[in-house]
Amino acid sequence: MEFFIQQLVNAISLGGIYALLALGLAVVFSIVGLINFAHGELMTVAGYGLFFAIGVSLGLPIAIVVAIFAAVAMALLIERVAFRPMRRADVTGLLLTSFAVSVILRVLFQNGISARGMPVPMPSALAGSIDLGFAHIGVIPLLSIVATAVSLGGLLLFLKHTVVGTAMRAAAQDFAVVRLMGIPANRVVAVAFAVSGVLAGVAAFLWVAQRGSVDPLMGFVPVLKAFVAAIIGGLGGLAGAVAGGFVLGFLEVACQAFLPAAILPYRDAFVLGIVILILVLRPEGLIPAQTGKRS
């Protein structure tokens, strides 16, 4: 029973990180129709933010703020420099731009900082586990769950109760009409990127807290997982992205925990096989995005 509860916590915690990442992709995709493969590099920027802030002993809470700010600043920068001039480009053009941005950033990290990983020491308080009587739960998984819940709640409030948030929800359905209402397009797009930066920053903190180091390539795996999660959920829908993230997290942990040792090496194949099955049954994803557009 304890084993099961712990694996459940693991699944929620991992699913939460994937949900944050997928949400970061979905927020941008829903508005500009761009799958931002440089999202992983936003995480890397946040990771280096953590590294430098902890390096000058700023304390963890401030370091997290620095990390999130770094990711937001980078998100706004790449929107302004790379994606705004490409606004009218088709999906392929945007996709290639995002790959280019991703590669350029990685090379900058490698040549400007180091191609080798940098240790990010976390306070030892984060390394322990809490005894709940029926199970031992690690501090970091708990923190992941709390951070995910807070981020999701905050995003929901922002989207429902602010003008920009409302405009973003409307833009996700039909951007042209939103612009006819007199809402400046640039602002809506910039805010979408900023939100994706915040989500990348939070996810990066949780990711780095687990791995303990930051290197130029660290964003690659998470953005791939986020992409898979966003597709399962139904690309473009925010609720779908969250659902997709949790489904992927649960699948991965369940396979790791319960597959027999002999076939465990093929875990990823199993997970992706189930993903394909989901897509065969629901080609539009779990929760298809509501949009005025036809794909």
């Binding site: 694996q7 915690s13 970091i140 687990q210 791995r211 390539l217 991965e252």
Partner: protein, 383 residues
């Protein structure tokens, strides 16, 4: 007539230039200076560069050949490694150096072996690298099966009866080293309490760690050859889950990143090519490296790169020429080359050298020597 004279003099000039170049020892590096293997290739190159500078200044390799390095970055990509190796071999190099991993090294070896170019892997440790390629391929770093033997011997000495091994089928290093450990450990009377697998780069070990935590009784020791970024993630999550079993690792975690993780890695013991403890030749080398380059000696890969320079020097001296076959035979017959981590011997091996292996313990962000050992050849599992 004038034209013919001009042509003739041009040809002569060409021949002269060629002759001047032929006096150089051309070392081509298809090396992963960026990407996932940079952790080993970057410091290895820094060490090799120092050796080349020193030996050149002292009159050249074998006393007469000045070495020139031609470095091509492979971005840790196997296809790019093959391409770089092709370009280098076509440019007429005498020696090829390949990245710190079996896959790109074996792939590049397929180019250099038929061209009869002596090839070293920077710090690839898979013992099958040399047999998979052929007689021109050499390793320099302690081989996986030798490291695993020293680790298993240590586990046996400490009285550990049960071990949990964690491996990944994604690379030969992460798969075979724990399996070699398992072979020696069980042969000496230990039992395997369980084994787990992970995907490299996945970094979520929560499910795996929960499985270890639920083992009853807990294993006496946990052994893995995971390295960055997987090892830091694994050890952090293992300790966070409250598993206190000692952890044995391999040379892949011999990096400043792992030492910088803080008290979570305290007590981890891993194999290494050497440790610059007080009074050792390696310590003297570390000082010299810092003096000459201004960079800290933060990993033993630097010494390994330097030793490749020494090995090449010794081989060129023995061969007396840059003839490919003579050079190859010279390397294969080297005995007791005085390196900075100890003596290195190729004679009698299948081109993975026999050399000392250090066991080191991490504590408080630094490393201390547990012991130095050369594994008993009878115990080392066949590759």
């Amino acid at each position: 007539m004038k034209l013919r004279l001009a042509l003739l003099s041009l040809t002569a000039l060409g021949a002269l230039t060629f002759a001047a170049q032929a006096e150089d020892l051309k070392i081509g590096l298809a090396s992963a200076q960026t990407g996932t293997l940079a952790f080993g290739d970057q410091p290895s190159l820094a060490g090799l560069q120092l050796a080349v500078d020193e030996i050149n200044a002292a009159g050249g390799f074998g006393g007469k050949y000045k070495a020139v390095l031609d470095v091509k970055d492979t971005r840790s990509d196997t296809a790019a490694t093959v391409q770089a190796a092709q370009e280098l071999v076509a440019s007429g190099i005498n020696i090829l150096i390949t990245p710190c991993d079996a896959d790109p090294s074996i792939a590049a070896g397929q180019i250099s072996q038929p061209a009869k170019v002596v090839t070293f892997t920077f710090c690839g440790t898979t013992p099958t690298i040399t047999s998979a390629v052929g007689d021109f391929m050499f390793g320099t770093y302690p081989a996986d099966n030798a490291q695993a033997t020293v680790l298993a011997d240590y586990a046996h000495e400490k009285g550990y009866k049960t071990a949990y091994i964690l491996k990944s089928p994604d690379s030969a290093y992460t798969l075979k080293l724990p399996e070699y450990f398992q072979q020696v450990f069980t042969k000496k009377g230990g039992t395997i309490a369980g084994e787990g697998t992970y995907s490299m780069g996945q970094q979520d070990f929560a499910a795996e760690v929960t499985k270890i935590k639920s083992l009853s009784p807990q294993p006496d020791v946990v052994m893995t050859s995971a390295y960055e970024p997987d090892f830091p993630a694994f050890i952090k999550q293992l300790r966070a889950a409250g598993v206190t079993s000692p952890v044995l690792g391999s040379d892949g975690i011999d990096t400043p990143t792992v030492a910088g993780l803080g008290d979570v890695v305290d007590g981890v013991i891993h194999s290494s090519a050497g440790l610059p403890s007080a009074g050792t030749p390696l310590e003297a080398f570390a000082k010299k490296f810092t003096e000459k380059t201004g960079k800290p000696f933060d990993t033993v890969y630097i010494a390994n790169g330097y030793e490749i320079g020494l090995i090449i020097d010794a081989a060129v001296k023995a061969a007396g020429s840059l003839d490919p076959q003579a050079l190859r035979d010279a390397v294969a017959n080297l005995k007791d080359v005085e390196g900075v981590t100890g003596k290195i011997t190729y004679a009698g091996t299948d081109r993975m050298p026999s050399r000392d292996i250090a066991l080191v313990e991490l504590k408080g962000g630094s490393r201390s020597l547990v012991k130095t050992a050369t594994p008993n050849p009878a115990d080392v599992p066949a590759p």
